[in-house]
Amino acid sequence: MSDLDPAEVFRQEAGDLIETLEEALLDLEKRPDDRELVGLAFRALHTLKGSGAMFGFVAVSEFIHEFETAFDRVRKGEAAADRRLIAAALDARDHVARLIDDPDVDPARGAAILAALKVAVNGEAPAVEASRPGAAAGVGGAVSSAPSGWHVRFRLPADALTLGTNPLLLLDELRELGPCEVVADIDDVPPLDRIEPQYCHLAWDVTLKAEVPQEAVDDVFLFVRDDMELTIEPLAVDAKRPGPSEGLQTHPAAPGKRSDVAQDSPLGEASPASLDLPIAEGPAARSSPAKVERNATLRVPAERLDELMDRVGELVIAQARLSQLADAIHDPSLVNVAEEIERLTASLRDTTMGTRMVPIGSLFGRFRRLVHDLSEELGKPINFVTAGEDTELDKTVIEQLADPLVHLIRNSVDHGLESPERRAEADKTATGTLRLSASHRGAEVAITVSDDGAGLNGERIRRRAEEAGLLSPGQSISDGELHRMIFQPGFSTAAQVTSLSGRGVGMDVVKRTIDGLRGSIDVDTWPGKGTTVTLHLPLTLAIIDGLLVRVGADRYTIPLAAVEECLELPDGTDTDGRGRSFLNLRGDLVPFLKLRTLFDAEGEPDPFQKVVVVASDTTRVGLVVDEIIGNNQTVIKQLSRLHSGVKTFSGATILGDGTVALILDVMNLVTFGQRIEERRRAETLGRAA
């Protein structure tokens, strides 16, 4: 990690924290009384402030300090988290993001946002100084549940000083909360000859006489609490505490008078045995929700994962060669080893692949804010529903999906959903519903964006397409093709251009990106009832299980997940090559493609042709091959740009003997088969008429 730019590390961390903050704020809008959410937002802010200062993002940290101060009133229950406040807080969150990108960004704007936030919190703009941390004790009077103070005992790990933790700063921070009595516990200090000068041998007992919430005390230890011993206990109001040693001074509650407090010298005058408060030793057993968040996760640069994936890919290829050799040599002990290695390789492959898979929920979360803002801006109340958040997709695919989904959501909200008045006229609920869902379907993932709005206007699309020259007047096309016109570059049916959409850019971006991922788009629309856009994406994993087949002299791999069954091509099946090749599969007519013809294979076909039936979504198509060789693990290698025009292949792989085999793009082949079927239907209809 040493080669990482610390500022970059902070930016990454801050990105996560800002996301947490935003989520908490949006949830808070729905459940304004949820204290846990307030705590979550506050902790995110506090961590941001702390690490911002640590990494030299002074502007960020100063801004957040004011943000935090204002938000503190919400945490103390003095201000309600109403819509206005959430809106102001979201603005502030945006400004934090801006500041992290560019610390010099417009300070006046920051001040304005803070002022708005303060107005939202207080109903008036208070002097900033009034809520400085030193005064926290005074403000705390309003909280009935807070005890009169806290007894804090903490011990740092022995190597804490060498790791850069300064206990004096922790004590100073505690003092900022209110007057403190600090006693150092020197029980564990070894005799002088065995003392390790770099080690921290002391523990501290701190009696904090301030009515502050426990989280405030927790926050002091936010960055060090992982390894330390910490107990925080409320101070009973009437409890007779044993008198502190003569070295200590007791302070009257004098908020803000730092000079008094500063006299404590935590390291110097200490009396070890005089305190016998009931303190549980051992790691702090607190149930603060912050604890739960800390999953044991590790940040790894994506390139390293890619590199790992490449290595595993090479290992899989080498393993395939070994298996082939073992089969040829027939030595039982070699076969044993080969099988063992095959098993290990497979599990290593799955594990490695798992590291690249990310649940799509991380992406969906980002759109809640978008929908929230769009809803406010357009005055259309929206119920945003998401489903299938745990559907996993390759990280790179997810990243590329963000833009297309933004465009689709914007389009749905702007053009799809009607205004509340129009909805009332159409006998619909005032609140529109926008649904975003993801699910696995065979070898692909389907992501749908659906709304219950007005639906697409076929007439208008046709008119617009004809105007734009995309369609010749009167040309007959299917509804599906007509609806897909909206993804053509420069196409927009919006009567007026809004700030959101209507300029004709956007939807073509969706198509370009999905094409780039070798996916496809479906549009279903019901006039007056709504529109559903479905993105079909292949599970572009780096390694898949494949079925190896031979066509003529060439070998091809078919993704096994798409294979439904294999059978022999029955004798006398009509293969007249005029696009009327159908297979009777238990009563269903399945179109089939002769790969020999499609791929222009040389040589004579094998006498017994085989059919591999592949499926995508609901459509099936049979692929006629010369020979089915068997299963193999397939490392997908992308084809270069020189072959990007060849749509029948999704990539290539290297076989056990070192030759390259192409991987069939099932989705495109199925589309191909579909077209044949459509033509057949048209023919049948024509004959019937």
Binding site: G516, F599, K637, S640, R641, L642, G645, T659, V660, A661
Partner: protein, 159 residues
């Protein structure tokens, strides 16, 4: 690409394609391979009709003879594959180039390089960056960016 390059001279790997000698930028050459099994890519056209395995990566194999409208006899004992990096709109790409024979690495001085004549050439002018001279023999310096760019841009919708 730039005009400056044409007058700079080059460190060149000379190869034979049919009866003509070509000069490839030697600094971009990664390795020279004996013929390996070539996987046909159906419907991809003759220019990049194949793929080869180069140390575990799948690399497209280009046949410059197609670009220059030459005959394409099957490989013989002299046939080699030159694996080199090609700059495609600023993105480096690795490709194999089929050569009927590989000669040697040589320096072609700036003075001996002439601009391709606009008329009277058998080759498409945009594919020739210049004509060099070596031992009284003409050496064609192909414009790889143009040759490969023309191919890659056949499918602009997938970028």
């Amino acid at each position: 690409m730039s005009d400056g390059q044409e007058t700079k001279g080059m460190h060149a790997l000379t190869i034979r394609l049919q009866d003509e000698m070509f000069a490839l930028e030697a600094t971009n050459v990664r390795e020279i391979l004996d013929p390996v099994p070539i996987t046909r890519v159906p419907n991809a056209g003759d220019f990049v009709g194949g793929l080869i395995n180069v140390r575990g990566s799948v690399v497209p194999l280009a046949d410059l003879r197609v670009s220059f409208g030459m005959d394409r006899p099957p490989p013989d004992g002299d046939t080699r594959i030159v694996v080199m990096e090609i700059d495609l709109d600023g993105e480096p790409m690795v490709a194999g180039i089929l050569a009927d024979k590989v000669y040697d690495v040589t320096d072609i001085t700036a003075a001996s390089i002439e601009e391709a004549p606009r008329v009277g050439m058998r080759w498409p002018a945009e594919f020739v960056r210049g004509i060099g001279r070596r031992d009284d023999q003409f050496v064609i310096i192909p414009n790889m960016q143009q040759i490969f760019g023309a191919r890659a841009n056949l499918a602009p919708e997938t970028h």
